[in-house]
């Protein structure tokens, strides 16, 4: 049996019990070392608690505050016999845009937490908007603390209905959203099915995480691969070996496929899809390979190999959406660096467009500058033409970073096009 890997993110504010939920997942899947459990049990007894406080397994927040470290995305790992999980645990209340954007950027699924007593609140709307913008393919709404509303089915139904409306307005398909009533504290429906929710016939949270399809939309998309490195052994027996190393970003590549090399535009055919373990008949999104081509073309790091029948568009004018992650504000006219795939080029920022107001989840008038955690549309002009897709179509070739030339700091996450289309 093969075990696959699901990358997912959690979002919610601290008060929603997210740390307890994550601690519960780790604990109930036996992913915690014996001595860690012991430490938590000791600390819980010291605090006069009857049961271990599982949030202590993941809660580094107080220590972080004491050390003055930025509250930041933390990665957790657990597994079951069928699947391994990489969890990007994003803190809710501070710099939520920066953290949620970072966690969501690699996630195939996001678990959004709400407190059963409060339902969908402003914070829920903000998080959901960012997850929709980043095109996280699947959402779980975990309605936590159902023990505190006496396991009342009507409470769940009302929150689920409320959230379904929000998700639809953000462009999520109904089948992409699953609502699960849980109590992280006592464990209802997290790993073990609860006897206290007989009216609920859906999966447990872990059951859903184990069974949801891993493959993202990249699998069905046309082939894309940024060339990271050119492999030339220059040995006697491999004198003519010239391989283009990269990770398949979207679609599938097979020997015999016609591809176009961008930005140059030359067309050629895939001769071989090589790996250290030998050639492959086909390589799909996520696989690191070395592609050999039938024609001798000048190809360097930063070039993109793409399907010749459905290539990306080549442009030096980008309409994009920026998530601004820096304290340093962005003003029109700024000269920055842009990293797209394996290429870094210069960019001049043009006009700022509408800003996404995450409090009301609506677009508002163009701002004069962008500050930290702002999300806005922008037009950009790049020094070199870039082969891009709309982020909504292909995440890998539709995403980029903006970098501050003097400090080298990452300033913004960029999404080609306008991936968040609000239904009105």
């Amino acid at each position: 049996m093969t075990r696959d890997l699901l990358r997912f993110a959690t979002a919610g504010s601290v008060d929603d019990g997210k740390s307890t939920l994550v601690g519960r997942l780790l604990y109930d899947t036996k992913s915690v070392l014996a001595d860690q459990i012991e430490a938590v049990q000791r600390a819980s007894v010291d605090k006069g608690l009857a049961t271990p406080d599982l949030s202590l397994l993941v809660d580094g927040l107080r220590a972080e505050r004491e050390q003055g470290i930025t509250i930041d995305v933390a990665y957790r790992y657990f597994g079951t016999p069928t699947r391994e999980f990489v969890l990007a645990d994003t803190p809710g209340h501070v710099q939520y845009t920066r953290n949620t954007v970072t966690g969501a950027s690699t996630a195939e699924l996001a678990v959004l937490l709400v407190d059963a007593r409060h339902g969908v609140v402003e914070q829920t709307r903000r998080h959901a908007a960012v997850l929709a913008l980043l095109r996280v393919p699947r959402l779980v709404l975990a309605i936590n603390k159902i023990d505190l509303v006496d396991y009342d089915e009507a409470v769940l139904a009302a929150i689920a209905k409320d959230f379904a409306g929000l998700a639809r307005s953000l462009g999520f398909a109904d089948e992409a959203v699953v609502t699960i009533p849980v109590s992280a504290l006592v464990g209802d429906n997290v790993v073990e099915r609860s006897a206290r929710t007989p009216w609920y016939d859906g999966p447990t949270l872990l059951g859903h995480l184990e069974s949801v399809p891993v493959a993202g939309p990249e699998v069905a998309a046309p082939f894309r691969m940024p060339v990271q490195y050119v492999i030339r052994p220059r040995t006697e027996e491999l004198h003519d070996y010239r391989g283009y190393a990269g990770q398949v970003a979207a679609g599938t590549v097979r020997p015999g496929d016609e591809v176009v090399v961008l930005p140059g535009g030359a067309r050629t055919t895939v001769e071989r899809v090589d790996t250290a373990d030998g050639p492959l008949a086909a390589a799909g999104a996520g696989r690191s390979v070395t592609v050999l081509l039938t024609d001798d073309i000048d190809i360097a790091r930063g070039d993109v190999l793409a399907s010749a029948t459905a290539p990306p568009r080549l442009t030096d004018e980008l309409d994009a959406t920026l998530c601004w992650l820096s304290d340093k504000p962005l003003r029109p006219g700024a000269r920055l660096l842009l990293k797209h795939g394996a290429r870094t080029t210069q960019v001049i920022v043009g006009a700022l467009g509408e800003r996404l107001d995450t409090d009301t989840v609506s677009y508002v008038d163009a701002p004069e500058q962008l500050g930290i955690n702002d999300i806005a549309r922008v037009s950009l002009r790049t020094a070199d033409p870039l082969p891009v897709d709309d982020y909504a179509d292909i995440r890998a070739t539709g995403s980029f970073l903006l970098i501050d030339p003097p400090t080298g700091n990452t300033l913004a996450a960029g999404l080609v096009g306008s991936p968040l289309r609000l239904a009105t």
Partner: protein, 303 residues
């Protein structure tokens, strides 16, 4: 030709592809990368992945071992054999040299783990290394859960957690000023079990001390230590013959062996799996497992 469907990646394949991607990014963007290689299991895994990332060409950068001098001969033999077999270049920074010329002073407890930092930084400067690969994993301890895959260090080798760059998608920002370098952790997302399962799948050779063997050891600070130049046994400490193995390879003065009869990779996987096992409501794991777990999370000293 028929269009074969590409099989989806299993967990180990996905992790392998991610690590290879990181190696290639760094090879493409940095002038002078180096892999920290001690002969331990995580750094042996790193070298294995680097070989796969650039095959059939050789790995385009050298290896560096910061040698405390407190070694197990099996590990040094293994290190030299791997280097020779792969045709790689190995730089060794001997902590002893720094002690001999007075740049470092031996600690009263004889431990040389903390002494590795200065030779490491001096060697980075001397060779102008700009990217240093290490085998750190985010599952090792809570604080590491927030470490970036590419992590910037200033001219003093310091890590400033406040100015960590957000890491999005698989776009790594390795820009650095002259004198700065980055630490790169290609197996950030691997767990200890992943490492062992991959070692099993790939048939990766490891130093023999990872597998159960009989050794004369003595008890100190709750660990089984071997006799060596780091001192001991002393006082009431006595040597006794035990079935042990090592879970990490580090400075001999503070790297304890665990009692174990796991003599094969399969048996080690079973043992590591068991050390994670804590039944709900269980009171106290037995000493051996708890201790093994503790040792597991000890850093190898470099980072």
């Amino acid at each position: 030709m028929t269009a074969a469907a590409a099989p989806t990646l299993d967990a180990l394949e996905a992790l392998e592809s991610e690590s290879i991607h990181i190696f290639r990014e760094v090879a493409g963007e940095f002038d002078r990368p180096v892999i920290l290689f001690s002969g331990g299991k995580d750094s042996t895994l790193l070298v294995h992945l680097a070989v796969k990332a650039f095959a059939p060409a050789p790995v385009p950068f050298p290896l560096l071992h910061v040698d405390t001098g407190h070694n197990y001969p099996e590990v040094i033999d293994f290190r030299d054999r791997i280097v020779e077999r792969l045709g790689l270049r190995l730089e060794v920074a001997h902590v002893q040299d720094w002690i001999d010329d007075g740049r470092l002073v031996e600690r009263p407890d004889g431990t040389r783990n903390p002494l590795q930092t200065t030779p490491l930084l001096d060697t980075i400067v001397e060779h102008r290394f700009d990217a240093v690969f290490g085998g750190g994993r985010r599952d090792e301890e809570r604080a590491r859960a927030k470490e970036r895959i590419i992590s910037l260090r200033d001219a003093f080798g310091r890590w400033d957690p406040r100015s960590q760059r957000p890491e999005l998608w698989n776009l790594y920002n390795g820009r650095h000023a002259p004198g700065e370098h980055v630490r790169v952790f290609p197996i950030s997302n691997w767990t200890e079990l992943d490492v062992w399962r991959y070692i099993q799948r790939e048939g990766i050779e490891l130093p023999s001390i990872y597998f159960a063997h009989q050794r004369e050891v003595f008890r100190r600070d709750g660990m089984w230590l071997a006799e060596g130049p780091w001192g001991g046994p002393r006082g009431a400490e006595t040597l006794e013959l035990r079935d042990v193995r090592y879970r990490t390879v580090g400075d001999g003065s503070c790297t304890g062996a665990v009692e174990s009869t796991a003599a094969t990779v399969e048996e080690i996987i079973a043992e590591v799996t068991a050390s994670r096992l804590t039944e709900r409501g269980a009171t106290r794991a037995d000493d051996r497992l708890s201790e093994a777990a503790m040792e597991d999370r000890k850093r190898e000293g470099y980072f």
